[in-house]
């Protein structure tokens, strides 16, 4: 009984987890707009001057 009989099915389980993660992210719309989020992450700082607005 070689180690391959254990490792390979294990690898397939990990792959299916990755596929599941991809399917979930695609279905929840994370690939709908590939441009704006890249820009948006640069903006997330709160304004540093002037009155803070809640």
């Amino acid at each position: 009984m070689s180690v391959i009989f254990v490792v390979l099915p294990l690898a397939l389980v990990i792959v299916s987890a990755a596929v599941f993660a991809f399917v979930w992210s695609a279905r929840s719309g994370q690939f709908d707009d590939l441009e704006t989020p890249a820009v948006r992450m640069l903006h997330d700082d709160a304004p540093t001057s002037g009155p803070r607005v809640p």
Partner: protein, 822 residues
């Protein structure tokens, strides 16, 4: 701050606008302020940002460099119940939600600003901007704030909003896109893992392998590949089944046959533990085919998107008068019997009868007639046409679906639906292909049975798999995707690949006149007489919304104008006013003649002759100063600069050109003569219905390409073999056209036909390549030399050849290189 502004001012001497960074005109300089603005819009926007502590906006390196453009509208129609019913949905947490198309979105700072709306307008819960499509999702608390308030704020910051009409279709498309992406991802993951396991099998077959491992790896491959057949690969079986049921031939059919044969044979060989399995080839095949299909769809989407956004920009509101109160309602809320108030320069939102006022109407959208016609009380006006001169009150007769324009649009849809689908080259090939491959497989099997019965079935199946039309199915979509993408970069939006296929062969080219061959707007074409009165004319016309005034403004954009005293507009006549102590009259010949005094002396005879000799197809405008006729102008629709050259090039390529216009025959004859059309190539005074009939009758004789810009062309465009909408065209026309030229001029038309021809050459080359590979593969399989390893190499090689061949083909010039070559 002033010092800063001085340092960053482009010219050194000018001050830069604190908001947009452009130079501040000298007249607007405010010596007492640290902030300078180039226009009132920028001033307002700066004030809003500053008072809300959003000065951070000015620290973005990439900022809009354009003055704030606002519409200044109140957006009352956004609060109307019928607007709500159409565009607003409710989210699960009780907020209202809508999508707005924003004008003026350019860059990352716009994303930042628009998404700060919850800070600027209390009651807004969320604004998300999709910067590529300029679409903002807005969620707000209906009890705290009105949508019109949000719209006004967006407008004040320089993003005039418009309702987005495609919300339902958009949601559907999003679902489709996600499903497709999931399919590609799953197929890709499976293909890679099957390939890894197969690698072990291949190296095992070369170096020797313990049978228990070989059996194990085969089973692993088999278990992993089944999901790709039942999930992503199902689309091919569904397509093949649909093709069989409708008795039509589709590329899915040979693909499904190869996939099924390969899977069944592989499964049998796995179970009986002997013979080749082709699982890696099959898994990659499904992945590659899905990618090809995705590319094809995306190219078509991009062009459709562009047309969709143009849809959203159309005005969608009207002002109605009820008990002497004027209020704005969405066009959908209009009912027969209501009274509309239509200002000069606005379009009618419904069909109706004028009950008060006299004006001129430009019906070019509906009829193609480029000259405005005068109307008075009792005249019928149609939705979509433009009120040119003076305010009108109109009683609504037919609104919405029953208006003339809506009926015309329905006709357009119908003829678009009737259009016989073009049998694509690839699908024609599929028919021949299935027959040849199936016959070959049977022959190989039959011959094999007599020579070597134990290998006959394996050889036949190997042949089926290796000839799977992977490259053939990719050949057309890839070449067309690349061509469509490049064409889009050059300002030509192609909605369907079959349009390129049809444009490759010369046929009959039918062109609309107004807006297609000509610029579609009034310009000063001729000027006779004294030039020193030109500033006077411009000064008088400057405040007028009349299209002729527009023509003068465009003719002399840089001219300085003197100030006018007592400027008066005489409806249907012209303008009169006092400039530098001189009484200046500008207008129709009759109007100017009325003001000519006998005591001022005889006018110059040669001047009068010259003025009267101006081309009669132009609209004449005369100018008199202190009662003496001093100049005359001819205004008309100017022919596009590149029209003659482009037409000559098209004719040289074998196209037959015809003008099909709704305009009067003298105007059409004049334009046709200038552009070298023969008399039998001119059709004038054609109604939209005539145009449709004309194109249909021509189509009986051969392929017809219709080029137009107006709603009056839309039905003909939809009926033509290929319909092309030109820059600045009406939305109905863009929606039905197969191709939309997003840059002005007819030069794009020449480039389009040339590019289409080259695209067809690339497609044919791709098909030749993939058939060549298939012949080699089939030959090897038939004589039993094809091992799974050779098949695994041969199949991707043919696909890669096709991909590279398409990518490096010169179909349309790449937009990036355009400047260098130009």
């Amino acid at each position: 701050m002033v010092v800063d502004a001085l340092l960053i001012a482009p010219s050194g001497a000018d001050l830069a606008c604190s908001h947009c960074g452009l130079a501040v005109p000298p007249g607007l300089l405010d010596a007492h302020s640290t902030e300078q603005f180039c226009c009132a819009g920028c001033h307002t926007a700066f004030g809003i940002l500053h008072s809300h502590g959003l000065d951070q906006y000015y620290r973005f390196a990439e900022r809009r460099e354009a003055p704030v453009h606002t519409s200044g509208r109140k957006y009352e129609e956004f609060d109307h119940p019928s607007f709500e019913q159409l565009y607003v949905t409710t989210t699960s947490d009780g907020l209202s939600r809508t999508e707005l198309y924003l004008e003026g979105v350019h860059c990352s700072s716009c994303v930042w600003l628009v998404e700060r709306m919850p800070l600027l307008v209390p009651g807004v819960a969320r604004t998300d901007l999709d910067v590529r499509r300029s679409l903002a999702v807005v969620e707000w608390d209906l009890s705290a704030v009105l949508l019109s308030t949000i719209a006004q704020s967006l407008d004040a910051l320089g993003y005039p909003p418009h309702p987005f009409r495609g919300v339902v279709r958009d949601a559907m498309r999003k679902r489709e896109d996600r499903a497709m992406l999931v399919r590609i991802g799953v197929a890709g993951a499976i293909a890679i893992n099957v390939m890894l396991a197969s690698l072990a099998l291949y190296s095992g077959s070369v170096n020797g392998m313990d049978p228990q491992f070989e059996r194990f790896f085969r089973w692993v491959c088999f278990v992993v590949i089944v999901p790709t057949f039942v999930w992503p690969g199902r689309v091919f079986f569904a397509g093949a089944w649909a093709a069989l049921r409708t008795r039509s031939l589709h590329m899915d059919l040979p693909i499904a046959i190869a996939l099924a044969a390969g899977l069944v044979r592989g499964a049998i060989n796995t179970v009986r533990d002997h013979g080749p399995v082709y699982f890696d080839g099959l898994a990659v095949l499904i992945f590659a085919l899905l990618v090809g299909r995705f590319l094809q769809q995306r190219g078509q989407r991009m062009a459709a998107d562009a047309a969709e956004l143009l849809h959203a920009v159309a005005p969608s509101s009207a002002r109605i008068v009820e008990d002497d109160v004027v209020r704005t309602v969405p066009a959908e809320a209009l009912l027969p019997g209501m009274v509309m108030d239509v200002r000069a320069g606005e379009s009618f939102a419904a069909d109706g009868v004028v009950i008060q006022g006299r004006s001129a109407v430009n019906a070019a959208l509906l009829t193609g007639e480029s000259r405005p016609t005068s109307i008075a009380e009792g005249a019928t006006v149609f939705a979509g046409t433009l009120n040119v001169e003076a305010p009108l009150r109109v009683r609504v007769d037919e609104a919405g679906e029953s208006s003339r324009i809506a009926k015309l649009l329905r006709q357009v849809e119908e003829s678009a639906r009737r259009r016989a689908p073009v049998v694509q080259l690839a699908n024609r090939m599929a028919g021949i292909f299935v027959g040849v491959v199936l016959t070959l497989a049977i022959v190989v099997f039959a011959v094999g049975m007599t020579v070597a019965p134990e290998r006959a079935l394996d050889n036949a199946i190997a042949l089926l798999i290796v000839t799977c039309p992977c490259a053939l199915a990719l050949a057309t979509p890839l070449a067309i995707t690349v061509a469509v993408g490049r064409a889009a970069g050059r300002g030509m939006l192609v909605k369907g690949g079959d349009a390129l296929e049809l444009l490759a062969k010369p046929g009959t080219l039918v062109l609309d006149k107004t807006g297609t061959l000509t610029e579609g707007r009034t310009a000063v074409v001729a000027w006779v007489g004294a030039e020193w009165v030109q500033p006077f004319v411009l000064a008088l016309e400057e405040g007028s919304s009349h299209p002729l005034a527009d023509g003068f403004r465009r003719a002399w954009p840089e001219m300085q104008t003197p100030s006018v005293i007592n400027a008066t507009h005489v409806s249907g006549g012209g303008m009169v006013g006092t400039i530098d102590g001189h009484v200046v009259r500008v207008g129709s010949p009759a109007f100017v003649r009325d003001g000519i005094s006998v005591s001022a002396g005889e006018p110059d005879g040669s001047l009068v002759g010259a003025i009267n000799a101006i081309d009669r197809t132009l609209t004449p405008v005369h100018v008199a100063v202190d009662g003496v006729l001093v100049a005359g102008a001819g205004l008309g629709d100017r022919i596009r600069d590149d029209a003659l050259v482009s037409l000559q090039q098209l004719r040289a390529r074998g196209w037959r050109t015809i003008i099909l216009s709704g305009d009067a025959s003298d105007v059409v004859a004049s334009v046709g003569h200038t552009l070298g059309f023969r008399a039998d190539e001119l059709v004038a005074a054609a109604s939209p219905e005539d145009k449709l009939a004309f194109v249909e009758s021509l189509k009986a004789k051969g392929p017809v390409v219709m080029v137009g810009d107006g709603v009056n062309d839309a039905a003909a465009i939809a009926a033509a073999t290929v319909g092309i909408g030109v820059h600045g065209g009406a939305e109905a026309c863009l929606a039905t056209a197969d191709i939309y030229l997003a840059r002005p001029g007819l030069g794009a038309l020449v480039e389009l036909t040339d590019g289409a021809q080259r695209t067809m050459r690339v497609i044919k080359r791709n098909i030749a390549f993939s058939i060549g590979y298939n012949i080699i593969g089939a030959g090897l399989a038939a004589i039993g030399l094809l091992t799974p390893l050779i098949a695994a190499i041969l199949m991707p090689t043919s696909s890669i050849t096709v991909v590279l061949g398409s990518w490096y083909s010169h179909t349309f010039a790449r937009s990036g290189r355009r400047e260098q070559h130009a």
